[in-house]
């Protein structure tokens, strides 16, 4: 029996575990870091201890002891897959909310898991030959870290020639991330679906599966949209996949919640085991929705030693569930991670779980926290109605200040390929948001900036004795800068140069109703300093209002030729030297932020005047990196 549970994760998953524990009468205690004060779990859990990082094992174990916790739930993520940590927990006499250590080890290690699959006659993609014997026909292939996960520590190699370089890089990366440099090789399958089977077992030998999930909508090996059940499989194949998963689970005497992942050829329906996850997964919610089984509650119950009272014939799938992961990354800007503060947060309240968010107003998204801000889970009687529900939820939810992938998700779920189920992991990989060329945000943005900045009150703003006073607003939207000329006709109406008028019909905090000539449009909008964002049927638009002061700053920084960090991160490479002559577009520095490498290029030809950073240095956004003096001094003041 678990009495006091230490939850060693953050945000929505910490909340999910906390809720499940509460339904079982289990006391909980959470952890948080100094960067995460505004994370949802910090606000909602009643007991929390501060740690330097969510993966700081020593601190966590010390807290477990000092707070007299008798069990640890890792949620998902690095700790959940760290067998060493499981062992340490067990050695302290604590309950690990997860499978027994042998099963954990077997699934955490890719080579062991593949051996297990082989033993159970489940097909795999492993290349078990020595590296030296690799031939060009083995390519493309995947290099994976033995203990990798979460989309990290893996890489696709196209040809033999680039193999060694990538191998070394992944080896280094996996040593850095997972503390182990063992790699495995798998042959690469290009047109396949990612389908996984949810398992649930107890310590008394019961093990059931809860059918399939499709996780084929991915980006850089990161799942984005998951659904349950996986559609479009023949009953025979579905049965075969579930049986294969059960066989492997039985062989391990699996006694918790876990997942067995497969790649499935959509044409031949051939399938291959790729990995097993001895833990709860981010997408467990969709299975819960369609089966009605509370996986987290059961995970806690079986961890306490309770027998599983569900039998396989009690598990039925009803309807269709979809989960979209909402990430802090900008699909319009090459998926750059988005950092900063949540300036505005208005989640849909009706359609999705309230506690599926890790963010709230004022939360900080930084290099130190998970870029997944939350997940939206919907359940309906069919796929089409589930999509409808998710669309509504996406439209109703507005996260301001942080670019996110909601528009991208919306494009995908409305895509015919998604609806028909005819997609593989490749289909949406490089999917780009169509450019909404017909919709120009300038005028609406102008109107909104006025409404939100100076609520249209009964006061003569912008007024002059001479009547209509034309003013301009300069804004930046994506790469464009525009000057919008407007004048206020009265306190409710703005007139533009082309005689378009926008009137304010209604305004309640962030919900604004505008009348644009004859069109009445409802938008959700907010303004924070010079950051204006609005969301409407046409999408989400983020603009920066350029004040004269801001322009002055841009101009003066132009003069100095300083390059500043576009995002916070760590400098991982310095590719230029002092006084080196560079051409426009040359790579100067590489910054790692989140999972991406950002190359800083020379904005113009010239020479490197100074380099202000060094490898390994952690930098903030806007921090000066280096200075490139152009070939000729252009400022006459400098010449004189």
């Amino acid at each position: 029996m678990i009495r006091k549970l230490l939850i060693v994760n953050r945000g929505e998953i910490a909340l999910r575990i906390h809720e499940a524990a509460q339904t079982l009468g289990i006391e909980t205690i959470g952890i948080y870091t100094q960067w995460d004060e505004c994370c949802t779990h910090v606000q909602q859990l009643s007991q929390l201890c501060v740690v330097s990082s969510y993966t700081s094992k020593e601190e966590i174990l010390a807290i477990a002891e000092s707070q007299r916790a008798d069990a640890i739930h890792p949620g998902y993520g690095f700790l959940a897959e760290d067998s060493e940590f499981v062992e340490q927990v067990l050695n302290l006499g604590l309950t690990w909310v997860g499978p027994h250590i042998k099963a954990h080890r077997a699934l955490s290690s890719k080579s062991q898991a593949n051996a297990l699959a082989d033993a159970q006659k489940v097909p795999t993609l492993t290349i078990n030959r020595p590296i030296k014997t690799l031939k060009e026909k083995d390519f493309p292939l995947m290099i994976k870290a033995e203990y990798g996960g979460g989309g990290r520590g893996m890489c696709r190699v196209e040809s033999l020639s680039s193999f060694q370089k990538e191998y070394d890089f992944i080896q280094k990366e996996s040593l850095h991330l997972f503390g182990d440099d063992h790699l495995i090789l798998e042959s690469f399958k290009s047109n396949v679906r990612h389908i996984e089977v949810q398992l649930l077992g107890d310590q008394h030998g019961h093990l059931i599966h809860l059918y399939t999930r499709d996780c084929s909508v991915q980006r850089r090996h990161q799942k984005i949209i998951e659904s349950a059940p996986a559609l479009g499989l023949s009953p025979k194949t579905e049965q075969a996949i579930c049986s294969a998963a059960l066989k492997m689970g039985r062989a391990l005497q699996y006694d918790s919640v876990g997942t067995i992942e497969f790649l499935v050829d959509p044409v031949t329906e051939a399938f291959w085991f790729i990995e097993g996850n001895p833990r709860l997964q981010v997408e467990h919610g969709v299975t819960e929705q369609v089966t009605g089984v509370d996986l987290v509650v059961w995970q806690l119950r079986v961890a306490s030693g309770e027998p599983l009272t569900l039998s396989q014939d009690m598990i039925h799938v009803s309807g269709h569930a979809i989960q979209a992961r909402i990430y802090a990354e900008d699909p319009k800007q090459q998926w750059q991670p988005s950092f900063g503060q949540i300036l505005f947060f208005n989640p849909s309240q009706r359609l999705i779980q309230k506690n599926a968010w890790s963010i709230q107003l004022d939360s900080q998204i930084s290099n130190f926290v998970d870029p997944m801000m939350g997940k939206m889970i919907v359940h309906a009687s069919s796929q089409v109605t589930a999509i409808g529900k998710l669309l509504q939820a996406l439209n109703e939810t507005h996260i301001g200040g942080i670019a996110n992938n909601m528009d991208w998700v919306r494009e995908i779920i409305t895509h015919t390929d998604y609806r028909s189920g005819h997609y593989t992991t490749k289909r949406f990989e490089g999917f780009k948001l169509p450019q909404k060329s017909s919709f120009s945000p300038w005028k609406i943005a102008t109107a909104l900036s006025l409404i939100l900045q100076y609520p249209f009150q009964e006061y003569p703003l912008h007024w002059s004795i001479r009547g209509q006073r034309w003013s301009t607003l300069r804004m930046r939207y994506q790469d464009q800068i525009q000057h919008v000329l407007y004048c206020m006709r009265d306190n409710q109406t703005i007139v533009f140069e082309d005689q378009t008028t926008i009137s304010l019909i209604d305004h309640k905090i962030s919900d604004v109703t505008l009348q644009i000539d004859t069109l009445r449009l409802k938008v959700s909008a907010f303004l924070n300093n010079n950051h204006l964002e609005f969301k409407c049927e046409q999408g989400t638009f983020t603009l920066t209002i350029l004040t004269d002061q801001a322009i002055q700053k841009i101009r003066s920084s132009d003069h100095q030729h300083h390059l500043c960090a576009p995002i916070p991160g760590t400098v991982i490479k310095v590719l230029c030297d002092h006084n080196q002559v560079v051409s426009k577009g040359d790579d100067l520095l590489v910054i790692e932020a989140m999972k991406m490498h950002h190359v800083i290029k020379a904005p113009h030809s010239g020479s490197i005047q100074s380099i202000q950073v060094e490898v390994g240095q952690v930098i903030g956004v806007g921090e000066q990196l280096c200075q490139v003096n152009p070939e000729k001094a252009v400022d006459p003041d400098l010449v004189a």
């Binding site: 006025l450 100076y454 009964e458 002055q552």
Partner: protein, 531 residues
């Protein structure tokens, strides 16, 4: 609180006719402004250092959302407007007075009209204790005007000028900060504008300030020197020390000025939550008779500009020819004195009483002019109308609360004075385009002068040709009409400007906000007299 019910019928034929008349005046006003407002599109470009026109300068200087209460917009000789803009706007949430040369009009030369505006700007800054910002780019004293004589406004002799420089120093010593941004050349007299200001901002390759420009230096000393090295921004900021801030371009100069103001004492946070009136000022466009012969109820006006359309009448049953009401405007408590036509003794007494009450309550007074003057005739002389008028003028003169005056109809004779006319130290005075102001009506002027002429003819036994006498009377009437016209009055700087009737609430409200910036202290020299 009595609910006011308006008697205005906008579908009435008379209303529509009168509205047409008002519209013709408003068109006149618009066409006047249309010639003046600077280019529609801002001239400033991010990549280009350019000279801005005076309006762009002003709008870049004030807060983006700030109203701009322009003063004496119509001032000018009838050919061209004055080469300077005077007005009030908010910079960093503080009301300031801006006096800006307009180099596009005679190079910003200091004509008599510019002098009038300049003096007015300084007076407003002084009376309301507002920071004073001058945007200097002026060719200096108008040399032409030492010869040319304008029909009605005459440039005083040089010996009588210079008060503006005196006033500028007075502002500073009164603790009112003064800032000068030099946009172009400021020579001789112009040079003292920055010279006497607390803060000076110069612009690279643009500002040139010297006692004598290169031509005069050459004439006086034979020395050949270029303007830049003689009095450029770099020289003044690095050597002479006349310049405090050296800016690369106009925008930087304006932003620097904003930053300077940002470090001034903050002003009261102004009240911005109040309810608008329930009636529209647009209803008044066909309200008045063009000749002001048909009486109108001033409460129709009051109800359309005070908060929530709520007001409280003082002494409603006594002297009804003047309406005295308490109301709120932009959340400020105000006293309003409005004419219902001719002033009778009791009305005069009531108004004098009311002025004292407002002094006791420390609330600003708003005067709404629509009077043909004090009642004349034997009965009224006997009743002491001069005494009563004197009481009112005395009360107005010694009232210490700010007065804001609006001439929305007629304003004649001693009535003009008693209702706090321009000479009676009001803080602001605006007019509607249909307003008329003179010593008496045109018909009365013609009759008086006609009678005098007839009397003289009789005395000299000269026959009077009725036809030429009629023509004489017509000329007089026409010239009197011209003189009383709001446009003439405003052009000659006899008020602060003509406003569109629909802007009445804004103008009076903003004035109210401006005068309420400092704590209001009414005269406490006497207890309230019950006249």
């Amino acid at each position: 609180m009595v609910v006011f019910s308006s008697k205005i019928n906008k579908n009435d034929n008379v209303f529509l006719q009168r509205q047409q008349y008002m519209q013709s005046l408003l068109d006149q006003l618009d066409s006047f402004y249309a010639h003046q407002v600077g280019s529609l599109k801002p001239t400033y470009d991010l990549d280009q250092r350019s000279q801005l026109d005076v309006w762009t300068r002003i709008y870049k200087l004030i807060d983006h959302d700030s109203p701009f209460l322009e003063i004496m917009a119509l001032a000018g000789d009838g050919q061209r407007p004055a080469g300077a803009v005077c007005g009030l706007g908010k910079v960093k949430q503080r009301w300031v007075v801006i006096f800006a040369s307009d180099p596009k009009i005679l190079g910003g030369t200091l004509t008599v009209y510019v002098y009038q505006k300049w003096a007015r700007a300084l007076a407003i800054a002084k009376d309301n204790r507002l920071p004073y910002i001058s945007l200097v780019e002026s060719a200096g004293f108008d040399l032409r005007q030492t010869q040319a004589l304008d029909k009605q406004l005459v440039m005083p002799h040089f010996g009588a000028t210079g008060k503006e420089f005196y006033d500028l120093t007075q502002l500073s010593s009164a603790g009112i900060p003064t800032i000068a941004i030099v946009f172009g050349s400021a020579t001789a007299g112009g040079a003292y504008q920055p010279g006497l200001s607390d803060y000076t901002i110069f612009i690279a390759s643009q500002s040139q300030v010297y006692l004598a420009g290169p031509p005069l230096v050459k004439a006086a000393t034979g020395q050949t020197v270029d303007g830049e090295s003689l009095g450029g921004a770099r020289m003044h900021c690095h050597q002479s020390g006349l310049g405090d801030y050296y800016c690369q371009d106009e925008i930087e100069a304006l932003m620097t000025c904003r930053t300077i103001v940002d470090h001034f004492e903050p002003q009261n946070a102004f009240n911005t939550s109040f309810n608008p009136p329930k009636f529209s000022l647009e209803d008044l466009l066909g309200w008045q008779d063009p000749d002001h012969k048909a009486p109108v109820d001033v409460k129709e006006l009051i109800v359309r500009f005070v908060d929530d359309s709520e007001f409280h009448v003082f002494k409603p049953d006594f002297g009804p020819e003047i309406e005295c009401v308490f109301a709120r405007l932009y959340g400020h408590e105000v006293g309003i004195i409005g004419n219902q036509g001719v002033i009778f003794p009791n009305a005069s007494k009531k108004a004098a009483h009311f002025i004292q009450l407002c002094n006791q309550k420390n609330c600003p007074l708003i005067f709404l002019h629509n009077t043909t003057g004090f009642m004349v005739g034997k009965t009224y002389e006997e009743a002491g109308i001069i005494k009563n008028g004197a009481q009112l003028i005395n009360a107005v003169s010694h009232s210490k609360v700010p007065h804001i005056t609006l001439v929305f109809g007629a304003s004649y004779g001693a009535g003009t004075y008693a209702m706090s006319g321009q000479a009676f130290d009001n803080r602001f005075i605006f007019s509607w385009p249909n307003a008329k102001m003179d010593v008496m009506g045109d018909q009365q002027v013609a009759e008086v002068l006609g009678t005098l002429k007839e009397n003289k003819a009789k005395r000299l036994n000269q026959p009077i040709d009725p036809q030429s006498h009629q023509a004489y009377l017509a000329t007089i009437r026409q010239s009197a009409c011209e003189n009383a016209n709001a446009f003439t009055k405003s052009r000659l700087c006899a008020d602060d400007g003509i406003i569109h009737p629909k802007d009445t609430r804004h103008v009076l409200g903003l004035c109210c906000e401006i005068v309420s910036k400092e704590p209001i202290k009414g005269s406490k020299a006497y207890g309230v007299f019950r006249f």
